[in-house]
């Protein structure tokens, strides 16, 4: 098939070759000989088997749950297309028209993976237009304007017709599938909804800004290296005011997703990500938790479990530390502290885990679902919003002077949302542990519920792991760690969710933990320094008194 469609000659699967190949596959599946003439027949859509995650993960941007990744010959993606064609031949790749249709039903997992897949875009186009030239892969950044779209216009029409048929058959998951996802820099509806949810979890008012520090903490969880996050911020904060509006936030989030899926960051913001453009798009109400759940799914279960186990271990470590300390803190305090502690240990965790973790993409993918669960939980617990008053409680403990209070406040604000969203008050069972969420097999909307049931066990483990991590790591800054643990007198269930969230998200700190933790560490260091100075003063006084006694 590869030969017949001309891919071998051209050297890659261009759109034209791709379509021909798909047609040929359909022909082969219908029993027709594989020849160019075969494509002239009206063929049913080729049947594709859902491809599993590993190959998709490998490519970083799985399109559909199928083996074939539709990619326009691209400098960066060409090799992928090669691989994909191979896989396509082996498997039964879905035809482009089919893919979008199947993706939504197949499960949101496809969405998760295909956030920005190019091929995704192709199928999307087919769906959208359902006429000729649907398979336009528009890459604003890559200047890949389906040049061949015209070529296979004829073929695509045929495919489209079949597509249309299948479209009608498919369920309406609809908006998500029928989106112009051909452009990796365009945000699909479900993506937008997801981003909006995340925004709401950070800032309940859609018209308000997310401050830089809050956004920083949030995006840091994505475990991208700081320079990349810095670049993403530069791209997305168009007005350079240090805060993100909803549109800017969506753009930033989208860039993070893109980066984690393996796309290189553009030098300039693609026009589809401009705030004006984004604001024009309507913000749908937040409902599809299901879709979001799917986001977490694609993560390779094994990787997830691995990562999660680590996280659990680390969180478990940390929990013991924290539990001892702040008992007097209010629930909010606890949560805030928890989050702060969770966040602080995370850098350590990252250091700890960085060594073990695998490719960044897997991590990124793992992280994605974490944030997803973040949002999903928020959706679930939307009613919980009223529970935690966002007033930053005065952190009595420790010397956390302004450093800590700043940190905690920020964290608190951010996590209060998360807590609100993700935590149920006292009963741990209500808390869907993020890691478990991500860990679970590819689920569907239903996953939300199973998630809920898992929190307790996960939480326990996580919290304990966290505490241990806190204890074991940071040998150089024992005071700071201690402080954190102290501030964190949380019950395990509560602690774990936060930890899960925080730990799961930044499961593995990239090789630049220093930069990421620098601000937190600076504050921690400052508090540690203050405490040490006080201790020094006390000891010096004691020393002088003793010497006087000697005399």
């Amino acid at each position: 098939i590869t030969e017949v469609c001309g891919a071998k000659r051209v050297g890659c699967f261009g759109p034209a070759q791709f379509y021909i190949a798909l047609k040929l596959i359909a022909a082969a599946q219908s029993g027709l000989p594989v020849r160019i003439e075969s494509i002239k027949n009206e063929l049913p859509l080729p049947r594709f088997m859902a491809m599993k995650n590993d190959s998709e993960i490998r490519y970083g941007n799985p399109t559909e749950p199928h083996g074939v990744k539709f990619q326009v010959p691209h400098a960066t993606l060409e090799k992928n297309s090669y691989k994909r064609t191979d896989e396509g031949d082996k498997q039964e790749p879905k035809s482009p028209p089919m893919s979008p249709i199947c993706s939504p039903p197949a499960s949101p997992s496809s969405y998760q993976r295909t956030h920005l897949s190019y091929g995704y875009g192709k199928s999307r186009n087919g769906l959208e237009q359902q006429h000729g030239a649907p398979y336009e892969v528009r890459h604003s950044t890559h200047q890949q304007d389906g040049p061949a779209s015209g070529n296979y216009g004829a073929k695509s029409t045929r495919a489209c017709s079949t597509l249309n048929r299948s479209l009608s058959v498919e369920r309406e998951a609809p908006d998500s599938s029928a989106h112009y996802a051909d452009d990796p820099w365009r945000i699909t509806e479900e993506q937008r909804d997801y981003y909006v949810n995340q925004f709401l979890s950070l800032q309940p008012d859609l018209n308000a800004f997310i401050s830089g520090s809050v956004a920083k903490n949030f995006f840091t969880k994505s475990k991208l290296p700081i320079p990349e996050l810095s670049h993403i911020w530069e791209l997305s904060d168009v007005d350079c005011d240090g805060a993100l509006t909803l549109a800017e936030f969506c753009a930033a989030f989208h860039l993070v997703v893109a980066r984690k899926n393996g796309y290189q960051l553009p030098e300039t913001l693609p026009e589809t990500l401009l705030p004006d453009y984004l604001q024009a798009a309507s913000l749908k109400p937040i409902h599809d938790c299901a879709l979001f759940d799917s986001f977490s799914e694609p993560l390779p279960g094994s990787q997830q479990t691995r990562d999660f186990n680590r996280l659990e271990k680390t969180s478990a470590e940390e929990v013991p530390d924290n539990s001892g300390l702040i008992k007097d803190a209010s629930k909010d305090d606890k949560q805030v502290l928890k989050t702060s502690i969770a966040i602080k240990p995370i850098p350590k965790e990252f250091q700890h885990l960085t060594v073990k973790t695998v490719a960044q993409e897997s991590i990124a993918l793992r992280a994605r679902p974490r944030s997803r669960s973040y949002s999903s939980t928020s959706i679930e617990d939307a009613m919980k919003k009223g529970e935690e008053p966002p007033t930053p409680p005065p952190r009595p403990q420790k010397s956390h002077s302004r450093a800590s209070s700043l940190d905690l406040n920020k964290i608190f604000q951010q996590n209060a949302q998360a807590a609100r969203s993700g935590w149920l008050p006292p009963p741990p069972p209500a808390l869907p542990p993020r890691p478990s969420v991500t860990q679970t097999e590819q689920a569907s909307e239903v996953e939300l519920h199973p998630q809920m049931t898992r929190p307790p066990s996960q939480a326990e483990e996580n919290s304990s792991a966290k505490k241990e991590v806190v204890l074991t790591q940071l040998p150089s800054k024992p005071v700071r760690r201690k402080f954190r643990t102290e501030t964190q007198a949380l019950e395990n269930p509560e602690l774990s969710p936060t930890i899960n969230v925080t730990s799961s998200l930044p499961a593995v700190k990239p090789h630049l933990p220093v930069q990421k933790q620098s601000s937190k560490q600076k504050r921690a260091i400052q508090t540690a320094i203050r405490k040490n100075k006080e201790a020094n003063a006390v000891l010096a006084r004691l020393n002088s008194e003793l010497q006087q006694q000697l005399k």
Partner: protein, 139 residues
């Protein structure tokens, strides 16, 4: 068109320094370093006055036979030093001022980025682009 542009932190270490590659870059590094003395001198000279009254643009710090060095200091004591080729006589003071203003704007944009910790080296691509636009075009 500048030959070398440097951003010096308050503690007098470079946050960003870039020169046109064909030249001996070390020479420019030395130049910038020695110009810091002049900058400090100018700052302290105005130090008696309130900071508000202090002019941000310091003007020509000192000329040499090959090039001129201009300075600019922000309110947070971050210094911008620009080395300009003396043969490029077309550059007027206003142009230098506008170049510094652009630098300052780019610098504040960097500051707005929450991922940037003050005191870190500057790796921003936007800032790089701004500086590139100001540097001499090497043919």
């Amino acid at each position: 068109m500048a030959v070398c542009i440097a951003v010096i932190a308050k503690e007098n270490y470079p946050l960003y320094i870039r020169s046109i590659p064909t030249e001996n870059e070390l020479k420019f590094h030395y130049t910038v370093h020695t110009s810091l003395d002049v900058v400090d001198e100018k700052i302290s000279a105005m130090g008696k006055a309130l900071v508000d009254q202090r002019e941000l643009y310091l003007g020509l710090l000192y000329p040499t036979e090959d090039y001129k060095v201009y300075g600019y200091v922000t309110n947070s004591k971050v210094k911008f030093v620009m080395v300009v080729d003396s043969s490029n006589t077309a550059l007027r003071d206003n142009e230098i001022r506008s170049m510094f203003r652009k630098l300052h704007n780019s610098y504040t944009d960097i500051m707005c980025n929450p991922f940037y910790n003050p005191g870190d080296r500057i790796h921003s691509r936007a800032f790089d682009n701004t500086v590139t636009s100001m540097m001499m075009q090497v043919c």
